[in-house]
């Protein structure tokens, strides 16, 4: 393509620097926000007004900000759960099922310690709460390990398996909390039982203790990838499975390990939302919405290019957008589901921008001498 005295060409990039990737990602987000503003327009709302309302509720409001942070932590955990297999070149879209399983695990442990009964807990919270977390880890880890094991041993397609497990876990939760299931709450509303106050998650600086745990986890995972032998092997497998095999890296163990980690982290996300958030403390009737929210982990993971630390600000942004979006849709009469629409548009914009990670637009003076 010629423009004036210059030739414009698309050339393959040899390497993407961190800065270039960040700029491309930010551009993608901006483009997506611009596209979603079309929805605002279609509903008769000035997009700038709309976005201002969203951001001010999400980040500048006494009630909105804590909700934003809680959501962001949830998204961050789901993102980490997506990122670990992603670095191994595998797709974990099963965060939803894994977090459901984690929630089931946590509530099962609480039940075992008598949380549902009326006589109160017979064990100190200091024992029960960590045990609940272990339950969440086991539940999520188990569900997460299945696609990893199948991929490693039998090379089964992990996309389909994780998706199937999402549905399986979804119905399992329904079974547990509705129509007389073991976790059913007393109100007859088809939701899980509510945790007794003694095992509410302790608060640190006003927020549930899962917040620093999530941040610490992100840091830990980043360290794992940057400096450890395990991280090296995972990355090698993700970049070139055949070269990794040649070097003796186990094609059985890497998928299993990364999905195990992914499941565990998702399980913790389930614990975080259903058992640690003030005002919740039960498996809610529309728990499926949380499964839907977990898909933001995919986008967040792609934008952060697999870097758990970079995921933190991005998760915060999306936590705010979805929280604000839900709040504002009633206020501004936009129609339900603006956060879903944003999810969809963001994803496709990001996919489109993938092109720019691999190609750069280069300007040459025409008619080069040899």
């Amino acid at each position: 393509m010629k423009l004036g005295g210059y030739e414009v060409k698309l050339e393959k990039k040899l390497k993407v620097t961190g800065w270039e990737a960040a700029i491309i990602s930010i551009l993608a987000i901006l483009v997506a926000l611009a596209l979603v503003s079309l929805i605002f327009l279609q509903a008769g709302v000035n997009p700038l007004v709309g976005y201002k309302a969203i951001f001010s509720y999400a980040f500048a409001n006494l009630f909105g900000l804590p909700l934003t942070i809680n959501r962001s932590v949830f998204i961050l955990l789901c993102t980490c759960a997506f990122i670990v297999p992603m670095r191994a070149g595998l797709w974990n879209i099963g965060m939803a099922g894994q977090l459901y399983a984690g929630a089931l695990g946590a509530f099962a442990v609480a039940l075992a310690f008598g949380a549902k009964g009326s006589q109160g807990m017979n064990l100190a919270p200091a024992i029960v709460i960590p045990s609940m977390m272990v339950g969440a880890v086991l539940g999520g880890g188990l569900i997460g390990a299945i696609p990893g094991f199948l991929k490693g041993r039998l090379n089964t397609n992990e996309i389909v398996v994780t998706m199937m497990l999402n549905s399986i876990a979804f119905w399992l939760v329904s079974y547990m909390i509705k129509e007389g299931g073991p976790f059913m709450g007393g109100g007859g509303e088809g939701e899980g039982y509510k945790l007794p106050q003694s095992i509410y998650a302790p608060l640190i600086l006003g927020g549930p203790f899962t917040i620093p745990i999530a941040l610490g986890l992100a840091g830990l995972l980043h360290f794992m990838f940057a400096r450890t032998k395990t991280g090296y092997q995972i990355k090698a497998y993700g970049l070139s499975p055949s070269a990794a095999r040649y070097a003796g890296i186990s094609a059985y163990n890497v998928p299993l390990l990364v999905f195990l980690i992914g499941g565990i982290v998702s399980g913790l996300a389930g614990y975080h939302y259903f058992a640690a958030l003030p005002g919740v403390f039960k498996i809610t009737r529309n728990y499926g919405d949380l499964g839907d929210l977990s898909f933001y982990g995919i986008i967040c993971g792609l934008i952060s290019q697999g870097n758990p630390l970079a995921a933190i600000p991005i998760a915060l942004l999306f936590g705010g957008l979805t929280n604000g979006g839900r709040f504002v849709q009633g206020q501004l009469k936009i129609g339900f589901g603006i956060d879903y629409a944003l999810l969809g548009v963001l994803m496709i914009t990001l996919v489109a921008f993938q092109f720019f990670y691999r190609h750069s637009i280069v300007w040459h003076k025409s008619r080069r001498e040899s």
């Binding site: 040899l14 390497k15 400096r227 450890t228 032998k229 395990t230 090296y232 092997q233 990355k235 090698a236 970049l239 070139s240 055949s242 070269a243 990794a244 095999r245 040649y246 070097a247 003796g248 890296i249 186990s250 040899s370």
Partner: protein, 515 residues
Amino acid sequence: MPQNAVKRGDTVLEVRGITKRFPGIIANDDIDFDIKAGEIHAILGENGAGKTTLMKILFGLHQPDEGGIYVHGEKVNFRSPLDAIHLGIGMVHQNRRLIPAHTVIENIVLGHPRAGTILDLKRTGEEISELCDRYGFKVDLKAKVWQLSEGEKQVVEILKALYRGAKILILDEPTSALAPPETKKLLASIKIMTGDELAVVPFITHKLPIVLTISDRVTVLRRGKVTAHLKTADATENSLAQEMVGREVIFRLERVEVEKGKPILQVENLSGLNDKGALALRGVSFSVHEGEILGIAGVSGNGQQVLAEVLAGLRRALGGNVFLDRINITHCSALQRWLKGMGYIPSDRIDVGSIGDYSLAENVFMNYYFDDEFSKWGIVDSIKVRRLTEELISEYGVVAPGSDTTAKSLSGGNLQKLILARVLSRKPRLLIANLPTQGLDVGATEFVQNKLLEAKKERAGILLISEDLDEILSLSDRVAPIYEGEFMGIIPVEQAKREDIGAMMAGLKPQVART
């Protein structure tokens, strides 16, 4: 296209002033030559001389920057292979442009303008059979291409070009993948074609004897320029080699004599399946001693790849045993084999031997991540790795800005040097080198071969797999030709005659005693 008017000796294709540039290199520089009907005109040149580019231009896959192509005196402009095909140019590629999963007929008829909406495979089959009879080809038209031998696949490609009405047939390295008997048959068919006023243009790298036997004229390329137009009758092997390389060519390396030690590798009755589930390795037995090089000579696709992968632990053995220094490693993982002192240089240096997106240091770490010297409690000592990498880079002369550059920015030769450095620095007791000089230029090839000899001096046992018979004969102590998964013999190099080894590679029993 005037078909009837063509007589033997008419110029059918002329190339004038063809120039093609790529970033940093002039692949074709002002090339002139002409092709006459009924002749066999060989284009000769080393790797990197510009043959591939020229071929692609003649077939419409590239556009020349300057110059023109003239068919029957008229200037033509090929925008795609379709244009070239329309003007009667057919091409037979070295890396078979066939679809293995489809039948011979389906491959031949693919894209044919007369194929019609509904395929009439019966009539097509009859027409193709006629072509086969005419030119002396024998191939099962209903077979799926993956079932055919290399020679048969080449026949299918030739038939495809002929069926499309090609009058000028470009052949890319037509005999490199063939064993001698198949070569003879091919040459006979080519002679019949030229009798029909077809022109045949083989592009050849180093099979100089073939050039002398078969062609009428030769054009030699060196570094993108034409250095000679000769009538073959006026040329000799040496004169051609000189034109190709531009200096006196030395055909043999200095031999290195090392005292042979105990057997480091013992293989008993080893068999294995290839990716399609067919038996590719049929119960081979042999041993490799410390300080010796055992050269496996064979045309690609006869089981060498499977053998290498089974030995390296990358493919499960179907049966048999492998002993490394008397320890049975048949069921050991690849990692365990590295730890026990085996080293493997894979044939695919890009997708298997290295990780393009990793830095040079990270690539070197591929053979050191399991070494406790370089990581404590799971945390990598990256300074140590970098230092090692820099030592290896300078020792092996890898041209690169530093240990942090990505591997994919290295040239083929430099990448192979890095891989060699990484593997050899572990001082393996058994080294498996799978096509170690494939695709490398003369300088890099010499370097690699010398490094193998150095490893031999350090008393490693080396299994060398190569398609280059000269390389095998100059490096090995013993030679084992492989054909269809079996060793046709294991012969000490002093007793190995080139013609015999070549015959065994084609499956013919030798008159030489086995060792």
